[in-house]
């Protein structure tokens, strides 16, 4: 019998890590064949479903980093270790990380945009020989909103990774960078231009202006990759909500090369 694509699998939560006051990482006991940047549909029975990026994965688990913002996600906030979440997927295309091999990879992420690219960062963190260099440009609204602080610290330690961390607004204790991600693009080493690949993920405005900023430094459109978020009800090209022009974000995306992304109109 064909598997019903809409029926979730109930999966046990094996750990819950707070990342900020409203963002939590849920580790789920499931062996899922995931590509970096793909998403799953997460269900709370009788409440609803929502698409969530897989923020990391291993042989017998996936991590979902979820911001508690509404109907479904606020119910997830009430769950504890040992409870179950409904999962279906993974869906979407993911980043073509084989194209990043041996390159100087730059990943610019704004806020929760770090979730869908975190598994790429960790992949190259663990496999330094696969990449020439990795530069991270990470922006958050304020210090309290910084996600994955422990992991960022770990990446900062690594010899082959450069991290530029910034917040839109600092506070009394904050001694680091202040300002939008776009303002820090110029600090990146733009020497071997042809060998660069740039991944940009965050709110629509951030992705647009950060892309333009990179192009000012002669990065070509083909070298830029973004990931889109749209309303999604199905994740498999049937409900229509995510469509932009003739493109279904849930099927052909959420990851797009800039050459394609720049022509997508809502």
């Amino acid at each position: 019998m064909v598997k019903n694509p809409y029926i979730p699998t109930a999966v046990e939560i094996i750990s819950i890590r707070p990342e900020s006051e409203v963002d939590y990482t849920y580790r789920l006991a499931i062996d899922l064949d995931v590509d970096n940047g793909q998403f799953v549909e997460v269900s709370i029975p009788k409440v609803g479903e929502c698409p969530i990026s897989v923020s990391d994965f291993g042989n017998d688990y996936i991590d979902l980093t979820i911001r508690h913002v509404g109907k479904v996600t606020n119910q997830i906030a009430n769950l504890e270790v040992g409870d179950k979440l409904g999962i279906r997927g993974p869906y979407g295309n993911g980043f073509p990380i084989e194209e990043y091999q041996g390159k100087d990879l730059v990943i610019a992420a704004g806020g929760t945009g770090l979730a869908p690219v975190k598994s790429i960062i960790n992949h190259f963190y663990r496999n330094p020989e696969e990449i020439n260099s990795l530069t991270l440009l990470l922006g958050f609204r304020n210090p309290a909103n910084i996600l994955f602080a422990d992991e960022i610290a770990k990446w900062e330690e690594a010899d082959h990774i450069d991290v530029i961390l910034t917040v839109d607004e600092g506070d009394e204790e904050w001694a680091g960078n202040v300002g939008l991600v776009t303002g820090f693009v110029e600090q990146i080493n733009f020497t071997d231009l042809a060998n660069k690949e740039v991944v940009i993920v965050g709110p629509p405005i951030m992705m647009k202006f950060t892309s333009l900023e990179f192009m000012k430094h002669d990065i070509k459109e083909e070298q830029i990759w973004v990931s889109f978020e749209r309303k999604m009800s199905c994740g498999i090209g049937k409900c229509g909500h995510c469509k932009m022009d003739d493109t279904y974000i849930c099927v052909e995306g959420p990851v797009f090369n800039y050459t394609k992304a720049k022509n997508l109109v809502d």
């Binding site: 019903n4 309303k231 009800s233 199905c234 090209g237 409900c239 229509g240 909500h241 469509k243």
Partner: protein, 339 residues
Amino acid sequence: MSYRVKRSEFDDILSKLQEDYKIYAPTRKKDKGTFSDTDLVLYDRVSSLEEIDFNSKTKYSPKEVVFPITQTLFYFNGDEYIEAEDKGEKVLVFLRPCEVNAFKRLDKIFLENGPQEDIYYKRLREKVKFVVMECTEGFDSCFCVSMGTNETEDYSIFIKVSDEEVFCEIKDEKLTEVFADQESTDYTPEFIQENKQQVEVPALEDITTDLFDSEIWKEYSKRCIGCGRCNTVCPTCSCWTMQDISYQDNENIGERRRVWAGCHIDGYTEMAGGHDFRTTYGDRMRFKTLHKIYDFRKRFDIDMCVGCGRCEDVCPQYISFVGAIKKLNQAIKEEKNNG
């Protein structure tokens, strides 16, 4: 094989067909129309020829047969998910050639788009057979000929009624037995060749992203009120939203359904945190128009719109879809002249 059946004998045929099929057809509901003293023509179950209205366009299309307004996908019982059962009833639906073609459009989305078939659609669709009603006159708002949807070969029965008789061409061998006692004839189906409304659909290469910002859409921001009626009546609008409910008497139990959604209606694109796309009605008109006559064709080689004219029939603001296509053609012309 074609047959002529006396009107008085046709109900016998219908009752024989009813042993295996639920039969749906356009029916006239007295005084149920929008205005007083007007009737509403709707799809309903029928068992006699008398009940079928062969001469009117239904307000809603027959798509509900395969894509119900609300459809339970599965039930929740604690952590368990129980698939909604397939009632398994075979259906015969009386419809027009454009509407058969509309099913082909729905098939594209539900059966071909994305990585998997939609099993809920498929199991209903597999049980549907078409009885096409000859339609050579059309109605005022139709433009099926322009859309190339005025003809179809996909039917089990093709039917034409006259005052005395019913002419039927039977393609489906499983149904011939029912007609065995009838007189054979040389009836061949005819199709409309010219509508009152005509429109030329723009070539794919003529649509550029510049047209997305065209002034033509702005007018609709003032006129359209976002009621979504054009979406609900359209035989090819296929969008839906997931909806969960829990039962009042036992809150452990509930169900997940899908319900029709429409791109003209507020909230269609809304995401958590208030991100919303296409906030103006003009943008939504542009999105719908291009979906119906451009981007669907880019993807599947056929236009989504079948030219049934229902969206124009129901629009409280008298927005004409043909009118929108004509404006687009005009804008393309101007763009070319300027460019």
